[in-house]
Symmetry: C2
Subunit: 338 residues, 2 copies
């Protein structure tokens, strides 16, 4: 996420610390997944190729740096590295299981585990990753991180179950949307930020502030994903456009549109959504309808407001280059095109 | 498991302590799964109906009692109850995911989650249960139980992946079979026994002895399951007979048979196995073939030997009624018809 951003001079040392930290995280991640059984090892090596933006480990490290006056790589302890690897592993487990649920064939331009080895291998591999994450987390200096990761994982699953329960329910309101997204996407990002602070032995106030920062950022991130699903180009986002509607998942722009449009337009839009859900291509018409009610603009505004709220949470922290970097990351969550 | 056995007088107080302990375990289990979201609550209530023999929580409590000279319910601490609930929750998670993998329609004479709510809900519900188990485990008095449960869960998944990798591989040997079963079934039962000892603050030697007891018992238990799959009556075991061969899973009697029979018989037996794997009914012929090479008797002998090994591990413990009860439980693992 931090890569490719043109940084002012004083931030270059933060970036260097982050990059060195992420090398340690990757090593710990790979070590934890090593297994004496070759078929398990092969599957884990496949999953390592899923590694993308490393958003969650980056947040653990950056929040760790932002919670202490000491800067540079030396401020990143063994616990920061461990907990960053834990967050990435939990995230990977959800990707592997999501691909089973979505019957996805590709991820990061490679074949998914379910495609290559079948749903059974993918379900069990996801379980292996979750177990490995908790086992690694239990090696941290205290029990607090395990409680945080356990609670976040429960929240994520509960959010997914709620989303599944309301799938193809076109009467969903914004409150329910936020309930789902705060858990499904917000919980682990909030946990990543809190874990960084915990590993820096930050005060409860700083831990709370970074948790709130992560939760708001996570929801903004999800809304940007919703928008990219509708307006992104396939080559850039690396997945088909309009997938959410195909799966019967209502996103913020669609929920806003259905609440704001005329009764007549609503009938028309529901027919577009049903066509998409049954596999027909009607993405263009959906985007046109959403534009007419200003629903894409609305979603964008909500995401921008959440990023501002996230940035406000950071005022509890000392003014360090790491804090500035967190502000830049939050902003880039809604500026990204992938 | 302990219910229905006619017990000598001095064991009645152990049974009373166990029964009171299991009531606390059930309460803790239900409390941990409570959720403010109704769709999550409904699914958890469904899963609570899966509760069966409570083998793992019983072992946690009984090993807890067997690791201390103090007897009776007062010897069972909060940690014993917590860790017993954790083991049952991890076990439930694997049942829910196994039912997805096996496309099972019924469990304990009720519909499975995947049957009622679809594979997606079942996969995510399993994830919720695993997360809840780890979250609960992190509330124990030390980090050691989380390490034990994390490692056992990794082992279980690795064993399942190995089994999947060798499915329909009719050249599998006994060593590979034991490699799979020690992890898939043995790991969590060994962990349950170790956790009981840990919660009683037992010496490392006692923890090791009970771990080894549980591992041997778990493998014996699995072999008995293998045998019941071939010879049990549907009404008693509550599932179809011959399922393992249908799923391409090689069990100990079949592996022994293929290694021992004549070349000509081998061709015949492989054809029976392939017919079963393709959904034809050939269970009777398989059982006849296995009987001819004494393979059912062989498997039974291995299970009996493992139970004896398990009982030998208990000599490290003080002579208490709880230890006697563990010996009775081990014996009943290979005497049961369900």
């Amino acid at each position: 996420m931090h890569a490719g951003i043109d940084l002012p001079g004083e931030l270059k040392s933060v970036r260097a610390a982050l990059e060195a930290g992420l090398v340690r995280v990757t090593r710990r991640f790979d070590e934890q997944l090593s297994c004496d059984l070759p078929p398990v090892r092969d599957l884990c090596e496949h999953v390592e190729r899923y590694r993308g933006k490393m958003l969650r480990p980056t947040l653990v490290l950056l929040c760790g740096l932002a919670s202490t006056r000491e800067q540079g790589e030396a401020a990143l302890t063994d616990d920061h590295v461990t907990l960053a690897a834990v967050c990435e592993m939990v995230h990977m487990a959800t990707l592997v299981h999501d691909d089973v649920l979505d019957e996805a064939d590709t991820r990061r331009r490679g074949a998914t585990v379910n495609r290559l080895r079948g749903n059974e291998a993918a379900v069990i591999l996801g379980d292996y990753l979750i177990a490995a994450a908790f086992h690694l987390c239990s090696q941290a200096g205290s029990q607090e991180p395990s409680l945080v990761v356990g609670r976040a994982s429960m929240d994520m699953a509960a959010g997914e179950l709620l989303q599944l329960h309301r799938r193809e329910d076109y009467s969903i309101d914004e409150a329910t949307y936020f309930e789902i997204v705060r858990r499904k996407t917000g919980a682990l990002i909030a946990a990543a930020c809190r874990l960084g602070a915990l590993a820096s032995e930050a005060s409860p106030g700083v831990c709370e502030a970074l948790d709130a920062f992560g939760r708001a950022l996570g929801v903004a991130f999800q809304i940007q994903d919703d928008l990219l699903d509708l307006t992104g180009r396939q080559g850039v986002v690396g997945k088909n456009v309009g997938k959410d509607a195909e799966k019967g998942k209502l996103t913020l722009p669609v929920i806003h549109h259905l609440a704001e449009c005329s009764v007549r337009q609503r009938a028309e839009s529901l027919s577009i959504l049903l066509r998409l859900a049954s596999g027909e291509s009607a993405g263009e018409q959906l985007v046109q309808a959403l534009s007419a009610t200003g629903s894409l603009v609305h979603a964008r505004q909500v995401a921008v407001r959440l990023v501002r709220e996230a940035a406000d949470c950071l005022s509890a922290l000392p003014d360090t280059p790491a804090r500035t970097m967190l502000e830049i990351m939050a902003q880039s969550a809604v500026d990204r095109a992938f």
